[in-house]
Amino acid sequence: MSVVIEARDVEFSFGQTPALRGASVAVEAGEILAVMGPSGSGKSTLLHCLAGILVPDSGEILFDGARVHAMAETERSSLRRDRFGFVFQFGQLVPELTAVENVALPLLLSGVHRKQALPRAGAWFARLGLDGLEQRRSGELSGGQAQRVALARGLVAEPQVLFADEPTGALDSLTGEQVMDLLVGAAREQGTTVILVTHEPRIAAYADREVMVRDGRVNAPDRIAS
């Protein structure tokens, strides 16, 4: 397998407070990587740097051979829209839109016509057990349903990399695991690489491998032979 996305010796500070102090990690194509670590360790900052949301103070972010850290904001924005998908913990759905419009959003923003985008988005509802909820708005969905809609939106454009930051953090254990089961199943089917930030070991156990972020550095344990 080849590395699809990589952070090399990345440093990033929020004002005077360092969050990353030389973090390096490489993720292979199709791999599901769990990024773990205590609160404030820098794991979400690392994810945001990898995704081109934050630009490192120093170090490199490489995606598919491209130097993300050196790109202009417009280029990084295109990258995020066209090649990456995102699932976060809270408040991701646009309340004014229906569930199916929310899922279709990345396609619409990429210029896909509404007539093509909505059926593509609709196909995800059966796949994720959301049949019949297409026209609901976010306020009419349970937490688990809303998170599955968010997952569909993260995957609908068939991104190369899905960034998931505590995607089950607001859900109860059973619902959270159902969401993870669907996330892993869909990502494997599409061959999507997943970078999953979580502090929960049971959620990290859905990944192929884990790395620990501690004090802004990445500690990757030796792989244990299966």
């Binding site: 070991p201 049971r202 156990a205 620990m212 500690n219 344990p221 244990i224």
Partner: protein, 174 residues
């Protein structure tokens, strides 16, 4: 897993032959480790000796005689007591891992690295159990969950201990 009590529990459901008991035990409780026939019959003999089961009839056939076992009141009481008593919580403070951490600090060895290695091993096992859960039946999933929650509890302990190593070092190396 207590084999005698589990077999008694299966017999409380309905009178059964040894073969049927083994089949149900393997299906629900064996989890890849089938109960040997010899152990089934020796256990049933002991239960009969202790008055917890009786043999109701013997059906002759081409193979060995097939005895049908019925649970007695004594056996049923034992099952009832077993089911209603909580399992002793494990004395986690005396785990091997605890001993390793304290010894590592006493000997000025890298306790944090040992904890990292242990965390990685735990997560590896958790991945295996998660895969069993995803691929298997509900029974498999519940058993895997039992293991997963215990491993998760260990991992919490590992995190807390990792965060307190400096303080612990001062206590064990005054």
């Amino acid at each position: 897993m207590s084999v005698p009590l589990t077999l008694l529990g299966l017999l409380e459901r309905e009178p059964s032959h040894g073969y049927d008991l083994k089949r149900d035990y393997d299906a629900f409780f064996g989890r890849g480790k089938p109960l040997p026939f010899g152990q089934v019959y020796s256990t049933l003999s002991r239960l009969a000796r202790d008055g917890k089961v009786v043999i109701s009839d013997v059906a002759p056939g081409s193979g060995p005689d097939r005895k049908r076992y019925i649970i007695t009141d004594v056996g049923a009481t034992e099952v009832e007591q077993w089911l209603t008593q909580p399992v002793d919580p494990e004395p986690h403070l005396q785990t091997v891992l605890f001993a390793k951490v304290v010894l590592a600090l006493m000997l000025d060895r890298p306790a944090a690295e040992y904890l990292d290695t242990q965390r990685s091993a735990h997560l590896h096992r958790m991945r295996e159990l998660t895969e069993i859960k995803r691929a298997g039946s509900l029974v498999d999933a519940l058993l895997a969950d039992h293991g997963l929650y215990h491993l998760e509890a260990d991992l919490r302990w590992i995190e807390m201990t990792g965060a307190r190593l400096d303080a612990l070092r001062k206590e064990v190396r005054p």
